[in-house]
Amino acid sequence: MTPEDRPPLVTTYQRLAPVTVPILAILTALVVAGGAVVAAGSNPLEAYWALIDGAFGSWDRLATTVGRATPFIGTALAMAFAYKAGLFNIGAEGQILAGALAAAWVGTWSWLQGWPGPVLIVVVLASGTFGGFVWGLIPGVLKARTGAHEVITTIMMNFIMALAAAWLVNSLNPVILRDTEVSVARTRPLPAGARLPELVSGTKLHLGLFLMLALVGLTAWVLEKTTFGFEVRAVGTNPEAARYAGMSVNRTIIAAMAISGAMAGLAGAGQVSGAEGHLSPGIFVNVGFDAIAIALLARANAYGIVPAALLWGALLSGAPLMQQRAGMSTDLVRIIEAAILVFIAGDVIIRYLFRIRTPEGTDGP
């Protein structure tokens, strides 16, 4: 059958593959994880209903879901941007922390304190962006100058940052960033003027959400419309041809890694300034790794990251209610996430199950 002969519905079905494959992967994952629920002696429908209710069942729950998704948007975007340049940035975990640390430190500088709120917020966010920028720049330079693989270097940079942050925040002798007036280990609080406003009081949803959404639009625009974005995509797709065409592959790699780091850093600063008001070392554990999953689910498409991040936020914020009502461990959520990833990474399975052809002549994202 030629494409013209095929019934229009089938053609539409095939054309929507970039959207339907992730959605079908999610649904298939839910079915598979449902098996785990049954094995554990619970009712999967009840568990899933509780999960949905917990994530979206009230305005506050919805706000919590969106609030949890907010940092995922920035870190997944960081991952996706580097991916477009052909780089697998595993370092969002360290870069978000670098940004958060810089923001939490600069925000408590005493000589800044009298400044007007908006200026303070900009200074705090810029510091965080710069912190992430530096933490992304280093593996970028290492890759360009020495060929050191970014997967290895960013993993190592994650360890360095996690341990450095723990020390800087925990240390009592000497006291470096720790707030000595509270018993828990965290940095001194940011002044009220340096805080991004809450959107829904009592939840962790803050104005940083719009910042992250703006970043999504900006990233898509840079990639699609600017010469730099063209260079990033060219280097990511065929570095040899990019070099032949006169692009500087090394400069593009360095810039893409640094910008990727900066995005994650901004996400971290936004959380410190918005949701938290201070930094405790453990709060970003796994955020950078979840970002990898979210970016893959969104197939590294900037706009696709928003729903993917929301899904992750929903799974995390709905889990406690599921545990309470259905008696399922919150770990079930991790099983669902993992199953989604398996079906996304092995999209051949989904394409086979749902009869979606692999597009010809195109490479992945």
Partner: protein, 508 residues
Amino acid sequence: MADTGHPVLELTGITKTFPGVVANRDVSFSLEQGEIHCLLGENGAGKSTLMNVVFGLYQPDSGTMRVNGREMAFSSSADAIAERIGMVHQHFQLVPTLSVLENVVLGAETVRHGVLDMDEPRAALERLSADYGLPIDPDALVGDLSVGIRQRVELLKALYRDADILILDEPTAVLTPGEVDEFLSTTRELVRSGKSVIFITHKLREVLAVADRITVLRGGEVVGSTVPGETDEAELASMMVGREVSFTVDRGESHPGEKVLSVRDLRVLDNRGVAMVEGCSFEVRAGEIFGIAGVEGNGQRELVEALAGMRPVDSGDLRLGGRSLVGLGPRQIAELAVGHIPEDRSRHGLIAPFAVSDNLVLNQYHRSPFSRRLVRNRIAVESHAAELVDKFDIRTPGISVPVGQLSGGNQQKVVVAREMSRPLKLLLVAQPTRGLDVGSIEFIHSQLVRMRDRGTAILLVSAELDEVLGLADTVGVLYRGRVVATMAAEEADRGRIGLLMASGVEAA
């Protein structure tokens, strides 16, 4: 050859369609015991599809296939191999990190008590190698072998599986002229010892040299069958293309002007640090095509890459109109009005998933009017593309289609259009027609001549001696990284150049 004459393979009325195209329409074809049957056709004529049907990789929509008189329907290549059919693919199916022996046994390993036995296969391989005159080192890593030797490994792989019917898909496309001759005599050796060969190609000279019978495919249909004694290149070409084809490039006198490129005592290293170009000197003048003849691997690639700024100059000098190019990068050199049609279009020349329009500005995307203040101007890019698609007759469903979906000839036209769409002082051209069909070759040759007539200096590097002789105004022979002789085109004949290519010295 007591056993010749009866058909070992008969295809009747084979039709195979893909979404949107009929690749084979009612094709009938037969192969007799002990013959070389050439399947001739342009790219996209359906040759490879037909052979993939025979090898069980595709299932035909209709038609029947008989092997040794019995009707067969293969559902996979394993079925074909079981019927003693072997195929040597155009793109080798070898694992570069494994040895020759390991590649040969891969998929047909001998196992004894659950353990891999390599002694028996080694003896079998050595026997095959001796029987068919295909010398090979079983322990050499395939990744270290030249293209010609890798092909030999592919052939031994098929023979190791006891193939009696051998399908050779464009076996000479990647070989040097010397390797081609060797390969053709190997093929004759194979049929002499009882094998039957289907030889797929679009090179007419080879067909006439080696075939017992010739079948021509065009647009998925058989347009005719003949034998070498009753036909010639011109007739075969017009059968293939469907119209008269001129083999001689239509070009007038050249009017060389001042010196544009001068290369002095150049030395360039390859990736391993070996000097591939050494003591190389020559000059190219405006309005002339300087053709470099030479067996591949004599420094052609390194020479062109150094000229294009993609590979550092180790020592010596390169000058463009008096200005040194040493130390400049690809963009700086391109901005001095130097164009480059690279040897490997898919690796260097194009970004396959990008749109045709983006590929047409791949080296100018950052300049006005294609970009203003760092933002791309889509309208300018698209109107530029529409203009070039029209001017260079690029057959594409649209300018936003990924360039990787175009045929090889049209992909090359995209590269040619891009490089020729701006005024150039110097155009570097490497293997401009490799793997292309007759129609595209004609077109690209005429474009090169047009560029020359507008005063551009052209450096042409080609493994096809005919191409160099047909286009060049001045011919230089590259031997071990050095231009060993330079002569006007009128003084260049195949014999003289062939000797220089092979030995680096003139006949005594």
